[in-house]
């Protein structure tokens, strides 16, 4: 089995975590039920002093046609191996923030204030050619509906190989070989078989793996997962989340995880941003946000889980005292 660290040039620079011991990291999702590891102080993931690969600073996004501001200031930084989660409902501005980061805002939307730096470069200065060089090789993304990002009439493997040929300049045969390795790295059971299949022959979970394989094919430093597991079954979602956690640990990938589900984000992220109507209403380490939510809306999200979710039957989170909320 090809490990992810073998695949990635960044791996050596990132964490040196080995396969097979995924749970040694203090804030990995694999802790025992009920234990409150989140209460421990967060150890900064890998090298604490590492320069951010992604810095989003006070970003505002406006619709130029209506002259309305849709996103009112988002800031966060990502260092290698770190994960930032953005939680919010449809229309909260989380996807627009992602799209701004990828330089793919819809027509007549623009970043009206603030700046975004990818690996030290302000994206406002990028030419379209520079963007093309950056996408895939430095920053990559997967979205909710994998089927709509793949060509239904081309074998999925060939679509990954194309990324490798264009981005890494490999020859056809080598690109094919590497695409199969990538399919194996995202834990598809029969990578050779999957390589030759079409989108309609694969399940949603398999397609999302294929898309993740394509997204990491050119060894990006940043991966944005925008509702990447929303359409999947719970058990498949867990597999994809496990895979993302593994990518982060082994390849030092920096992740932006966007979800409407606080629990998904809580499971994977070091830092959480809660967005509502274009505003970041709460931001902090995952444990701060879960245990000491300040904003009404964050409390609503937590209460929903406590009253209507599985949490109803699990040990409660540390209850809030009035002093803590102030």
């Amino acid at each position: 089995m090809t490990t992810l660290s073998e695949l990635s040039d960044n791996a050596a620079a990132g964490t040196a975590q080995r396969a097979g011991e995924p749970d040694t990291e203090p804030d990995s999702p694999g802790t025992e039920p009920g234990t409150e590891t989140a209460d421990e102080p967060r150890t900064a993931v890998p090298a604490a002093a590492a320069a951010p690969v992604l810095a989003v600073r006070g970003v505002h996004i406006s619709d130029q046609v209506t002259d309305r501001e849709i996103v009112h200031g988002v800031s966060f930084e990502l260092t290698p191996g770190k994960t930032v989660g953005i939680v919010g409902e449809s229309g909260s501005g989380k996807t627009l923030t992602c799209r701004a980061t990828l330089g793919i805002l819809p027509p007549h939307f623009e970043v009206s204030a603030g700046s975004i730096e990818i690996a030290g470069t302000d994206i406002a200065t990028l030419t379209p050619q520079q963007w093309t060089a950056l996408r895939g090789a430095t920053i990559s993304a997967v979205f909710q509906d994998p089927a709509s990002y793949l060509n239904p009439s081309i074998r999925v493997g060939a679509q990954i190989a194309e990324v490798i040929r264009v981005k890494k300049g490999l020859k056809r045969r080598e690109a094919r070989h590497r695409a199969v390795e990538l399919l194996q790295a995202v834990q598809l059971r029969d990578p050779e078989l999957v390589y030759g299949q079409y989108t309609h022959e694969l399940s949603g979970g398999m397609l999302q793996r294929v898309l993740i394989a394509a997204a990491i094919a050119a060894d990006p430093q940043i991966l944005i997962a925008d509702e990447a597991t929303t359409a999947l079954d719970v058990t498949v979602q867990a597999e994809i989340l496990d895979l993302l956690a593994e990518l982060r640990q082994q390849a030092g990938l920096a992740l932006v995880v966007v979800s409407h589900d606080l629990a998904v984000v809580a499971q994977l992220c070091d830092e959480v941003l809660v967005m509502r109507e274009g505003e970041v209403v709460e931001q902090g380490t995952t444990s701060e946000v879960l245990h000491h939510p300040r904003h009404e809306y964050t409390r609503l999200l937590i209460a929903e889980h406590d009253q209507y979710g599985l949490e109803k039957f699990l040990a409660p989170l540390t209850p809030l005292t009035p002093q803590e909320t102030s």
């Binding site: 719970v234 058990t235 629990a263 929903e304 209507y308 599985l310």
Partner: protein, 290 residues
Amino acid sequence: MTTEHAQGQRPADAAADGRAVLEVTGLDVHYGSRRQRRRALHDVSLSVAPGETVGIIGETGSGKSTFARTVLGLVRASAGRIVIGGEDVGAYGGRQWRRLRRRGIVQYVFQDPLRSLDPDLTVEESLIEPLLIQGVARQEATARARTFLARVQLSEELLDRLPGELSGGQRQRVAVARALVTEPKLIILDEPVSALDSANRVQILQILKDLRAAGVALVFISHDLGSVAGVADRIAVLYQGELVEVGAAREVITAPRHVYTRLLVGSAPTLRTASADRAERDRLRALLHA
């Protein structure tokens, strides 16, 4: 087969005494014919007592929607017995099913209200239609429509709107109100909150809790263990067309017996992190696929 595969079935408790609103015994459903014939449900038995909320959990292809459709007479069972409100409907033909549905004892709510509401009917027309079909006078029907619109916390201003002019959450509440106007004994809900954001989800779940308190029996079908856990008295787990576990919600979630249920519970993200770790999930997956 390992010991882990031992049947997680618990004795069906409530509702086994003949006053069940819904009693399904040994249900088999097949799709296709001859060589194309595929089994969608096998030997499914489940009963629902008056006022009870039973959650059916299953993932893609588990047969959960087939179950809903069969109980509503939209799909024919190849074997088994279905008794609704004491009436054996197993041998019913299309006309008898239509008559049964018209009486409004069983109602249903599906995931996508845009597809279950007629796009050309206003909210009011959609709400009164089932009553007019029953022969209720228009004035009385309109009054009832207003009552039930209030029950789902929608304002009367929406009565003149078309489904396309409502938000997703409002639409789903209209679909629930429409299911309620005939005052059914049983409502089958197939993924009723899956397409909604959390504020709307909470609202619908609260309405379902109120309905339960009012004595309406609910069958709540979903892939999302979380939303079912919050409202169901009992949870039934469907896996590849078979019920692998049925039990009190708390038991199924805190002490799942079947390997699949354990994987399902262990995969669900919660605010306390997933209840199983990655290694445990891998182990359960291997067991399940063995």
